[in-house]
Amino acid sequence: MDYVFLISSFIKIVALFAVVLGIVNYTVYAERRISALIQDRLGPNRVGPAGLLQPIADALKFLAKEDLTPGHVNKFYYWLAPCLAMIPAITTLAVIPFGSTLFGVPMVIADINVGVLFVFAIASLSVYGIVIAGWSSNSKYPFLGGVRSTSQMISYELSLGLAVIPIFLLLGQLRLTEVVRYQIEHGWMIAPFVGDWANPHKWLLAIPMMISFVVFTIAIFAETNRLPFDLPEAETELVGGYHTEYGSMKFALFFLGEYVAMITGSAIIVTLFLGGWHFPWIPDGSQGWGWGLVNIFVFFSKVVVLLCVFIWVRWTLPRFRYDQLMRLGWVFFFEIALANIFLVAIILAYFPS
């Protein structure tokens, strides 16, 4: 066995896990502060300077709370569900290139040749956590939430998968590091400013890429159960949705899973459409470890910006009705994504670069 590979992988896994959990905690804080800003309130500002210690207080509260298991639930599955909600979201992070290189080690945990398919496959497993939570709770509202969530996630997975096909038609590759490499050479997918920017072929391709980007982003909103698509946990209709019967750390795991899924979603959007860790005029990690760190910083900055967009949308738009949600997914985004594939194929066939 290659010990350098083992040790560097282990360090990468631990570091990425720590960074992502840190971002999750402060996303929750940001969510509360930004929602307060949007609604002209103050938000949590008492614990520590400007309320910055609030996430730590929240975590302590969740840990110290009594772990209550209601009597009417199906015990084994009730315990299994929060774990199943958390694990897929974290596992998908493994294939995302979050930096260039650091000391010659590529900053991606597993650079596999089916990259984005791996992400979709593992992300499609996260539906089990929600379904089992809804079913094992043995109560009306969680069950309705679970059922809604299943049909929603399956419907939007189609648009999600179809929206990335244009990129792979263009590249002929599924490897995510190759997607980033292409964008370094030819400019970001939706904004080809760098490289041979005067090439009209690339600007022509940017149109279908923009469509893909919009469809993909909206499908990610639906996949992560965020407003305006948060029907599975619509508080006004379903109490709390699939996690109504959960409390303390088990509830926190659902909560964390949702936010980690948001981060993973943003990371995939950044990797596929927004250039990954690349920023114009910043060299990659082969120019020294300082630049390697800057690349990682650039990647996570982009992710954080997207997370802010997620929060902004949540507190701006009202919720869809369920039939509207389904119609939007099946007869609107599905068709757009399908037509978009034909558009890209035509551009690639008749307007070669």
Binding site: V114, F118, A121, L125, Y128, V131, G146, T150, I154, E157
Partner: protein
């Protein structure tokens, strides 16, 4: 891949495959099948067939089994858990399975190719996604196109049916 991983995943696959049959709760059976599929895809990946393994998860575990689970939950099959096992049926089923297994063993035992050990896997010249694509689009292009049209017709049909308003 280290061989102990093969044994772990093979055991997971077979164990949960048996659990599909042995569980009386339909939901537990469906979830066991899901884990069995995961073990199967791990075995595919151990043969460097990442694409097939991932598609196995994406299609069967992520989509087909979710729908199965969905339907089972909506049907709410509680009577199934209370039903007693029929001893005669269990013994009969086991006999049929054993007979079938013995037959396969005897046929494979007489096969000439089964006497030799497997040749080592040829190291691939390109990654498996490309190999699959190349094969589909060169050797099996016509069947592939036909299936593509079939699937497209099915999806368009679904959209048309769901778009039609009921009066």
């Amino acid at each position: 891949m280290p061989s102990f991983l093969f044994w772990i995943f093979a055991a997971v696959m077979l164990g949960f495959g048996a659990a599909v049959v042995l569980n009386r709760n339909p939901i537990a059976s469906a979830l066991s099948l899901v884990i069995s599929f995961l073990g199967l895809s791990a075995l595919f990946m151990s043969l460097d067939a990442f694409f097939i393994g991932i598609i196995q998860i994406l299609v069967y575990t992520g989509a087909v089994m979710v729908l199965f689970l969905f339907i089972i939950m909506l049907l709410d099959l509680r009577t199934e858990t209370r039903r007693k096992m029929n001893v005669v049926a269990v013994v009969g089923g086991a006999m049929v399975a054993l007979a079938f297994f013995a037959q396969i063993c005897s046929v494979v035992g007489q096969l000439g190719a089964a006497q030799q050990s497997f040749p080592p896997l040829a190291s691939p010249k390109m990654d498996d996604v490309h190999s699959v694509g190349l094969l589909l689009f060169s050797n099996y292009n016509v069947p592939f196109q036909i299936i593509g049209v079939l699937v497209l017709v099915a999806t368009v049909g679904v959209v048309v049916l769901s778009k039609r308003e009921l009066r």
